[in-house]
Symmetry: C2
Subunit: 157 residues, 2 copies
């Protein structure tokens, strides 16, 4: 197995294709990790969430990370971590960004639009609207493992 560090271009490409990952936030140095649906474009990871602990925490501490992996097998995988800052996109201040994020997410997650529409029809008491936010990425690092033999090992054998 050969493990290689990914270049920034490779990280960018991998993140651009991702639609699902894990979001890590932290409060008083207690980390907290949840799965999220996401979309990446031009330095921003866009995501949506219902309200809850992670939103409360990110409002207090906007330093977050996003981890994405693609695991084809024990020796064939990619894992990327991006760190950045949480920012909510409330309307009307961020109407353009909010609409853009929503479009990006809907393109990847048609199920979500349907699910929300159903939920809105079914729920008598309250409209459950997920919160849209973005993460301004500050750093990205990625590792790619493959079955290839390294040059060093190839020369030895």
């Amino acid at each position: 197995m050969l493990i290689k560090e990914m270049t920034q271009a490779e990280c960018n490409d991998f993140l651009s294709r991702a639609s699902f990952g894990r979001l890590g936030c932290s409060l008083n140095d207690q980390p907290y990790v949840v799965p999220i649906y996401l979309a990446y474009e031009d330095g921003y990871v866009y995501a949506l969430s219902t309200r809850g602990q992670k939103i409360e925490w990110m409002r207090k501490n906007p330093q977050v990370c996003v981890q994405i992996d693609e695991i084809a097998g024990d020796t064939q995988w990619v894992s990327l971590i991006a760190t950045g800052r949480y920012q909510e996109l409330p309307e009307p201040q961020y109407k353009d960004e909010h609409d853009h994020a929503r479009k990006l997410l809907e393109k990847r997650h048609r199920w979500w639009r349907t699910a929300m529409a159903e939920r809105q029809l079914k729920s008598d008491d309250q409209l459950i609207e997920p919160l849209i936010f973005r993460i301004h990425t500050e750093s990205m690092t990625g590792l790619r493992a493959s079955d290839e033999t390294s040059d060093f090992e190839a020369k030895k054998s």
Copy 2:
């Protein structure tokens, strides 16, 4: 879609069957998330890692979390988060715990034993031995989503 909170017994059962998850650690309130192979037994998540940033961080701040999910579809998934404290298991002090952890992990990850053996044969310069650690779990919460209709919705229709 119906989302239910899992009981402690359900969390325990789900975690006991897991062999892979994401580990969240934090330093100066900057979270960091990585994929890990793991095994759970009697209040401890056992895991192994090569040395690196996460080990350095957990030595400085042992408050960590482990997130595990099983996603069968957009409306059928389980997600669990356990928080706890990081503890290394160096030999000889923790020989029994170390051996036990190794056995638990090897039972789930035969590939790992093979991969490590190969690596030891191939590497001239340094024996790469992964570090074994455990996390003493302090809390566990889980959510399970299913296509079932809730009692409330069933009564309405």
